[in-house]
């Protein structure tokens, strides 16, 4: 397996949608390719960081104000 072939399957490996056979081929490639191992690990980390950190904060005061406005408008139309 070449690095290009590995990259084409990177998402499937990360999302765990590969067959056992393909997974074994990908693992074999990782066994001797440090670059692809770095790409796999850092891409996983990228996703994890975006999942676990709030990029756009919604402060409690704004949240309450918006919530109240939504409910007021719903009650009006309902």
């Amino acid at each position: 397996m070449t690095c290009t072939e590995f990259l084409a399957l990177l998402d499937d490996l990360i999302d765990d949608t590969v067959t056992a056979e393909t997974r074994a081929e990908l693992q074999a490639h990782l066994g001797h390719c440090g670059h692809c191992e770095v790409i796999l690990n850092t891409t996983r980390k990228t996703i994890e960081i975006y999942r676990s950190h709030e990029v756009y904060d919604l402060p409690a005061s704004l949240r309450e104000r918006l919530h109240a406005a939504i409910m007021a408008r719903c009650k009006k139309c309902g």
Binding site: I14, H35, I39, N41, T42, I49, H53, V55, I70, G78
Partner: protein, 218 residues
């Protein structure tokens, strides 16, 4: 027979289904619960797409109001959250069109770029690299990095990886094919990885240098 009964009992409907039914029966307080449950996510999605706080506030309000008004149209066999996100995505894209009058806005925009699709930065990151930054500094790095992605990549990444929708749900929501979503997701992930590498290298000197760049760019 007892085995079948046990299986049926395990397939409990999603708690949203009961809430939606209560709203349909005229119970507004049930809608209050639904709004509270999803307002953060809807605000986040709107911010990611519009990249504007005021627009995100408007989108969040309009999306929940529209969902309330159209609740009769909601099919119980789809997830309320997915249905709500679809409304919020449409409202966000409409808001973008308004802001950029005369300029077509579509999620096909800017996707010709191949930048970052071929990994160039192959140095490993520090262990738990986010620990090297303060909370607000990290948020700024993440915000700035994702804002630099082409819109069509950014929306796919946010829906799939941040909000946890499936490839099929994302494709349907954005009127894209499944292969198109997969291709955009791979490129979004690789581009973000490439850009974050600048900050997260194990090499301390390099990290300091990059931080200096960020400060200068402000």
């Amino acid at each position: 027979m007892p085995i079948i009964q046990t299986t049926v009992e395990q397939l409990e409907p999603h708690p949203d289904v009961a809430l939606v039914e209560r709203v349909r029966g005229g119970d507004v307080s049930a809608y209050d619960t639904l709004v509270r449950k999803y307002e953060r996510q809807i605000f986040r999605i709107a911010q990611h797409i519009t990249q504007n706080r005021e627009d995100a506030e408007d989108v969040m309000q309009d999306a929940f109001l529209k969902a309330y008004e159209k609740l009769e149209q909601f099919q119980g066999n789809s997830k309320f959250y997915t249905w709500l996100v679809r409304i919020a995505v449409n409202e966000s894209l409409m808001r973008l069109r308004k802001r950029r009058t005369g300029k077509m806005v579509s999620i096909d925009e800017d996707i010709a770029t191949e930048e970052g699709s071929v990994p160039r930065d192959l140095a490993d990151w520090a262990p738990d690299p986010e620990q090297n930054f303060g909370q607000s500094e990290l948020a700024e790095i993440l915000r700035k990095t994702i804002q630099g992605l082409p819109q069509g990549f950014r929306i796919v990444f946010v829906l799939r990886d941040v909000e946890g929708l499936s490839t099929e749900e994302t494709a349907e929501m954005l009127s894209l094919s499944v292969p198109a979503v997969k291709s955009r997701l791979l490129r979004a992930r690789l581009q973000l990885r490439e850009r974050l590498s600048r900050y997260f290298h194990g090499n301390k000197r390099l990290k300091e240098m990059r931080l200096g760049e960020t400060r200068n760019e402000k």
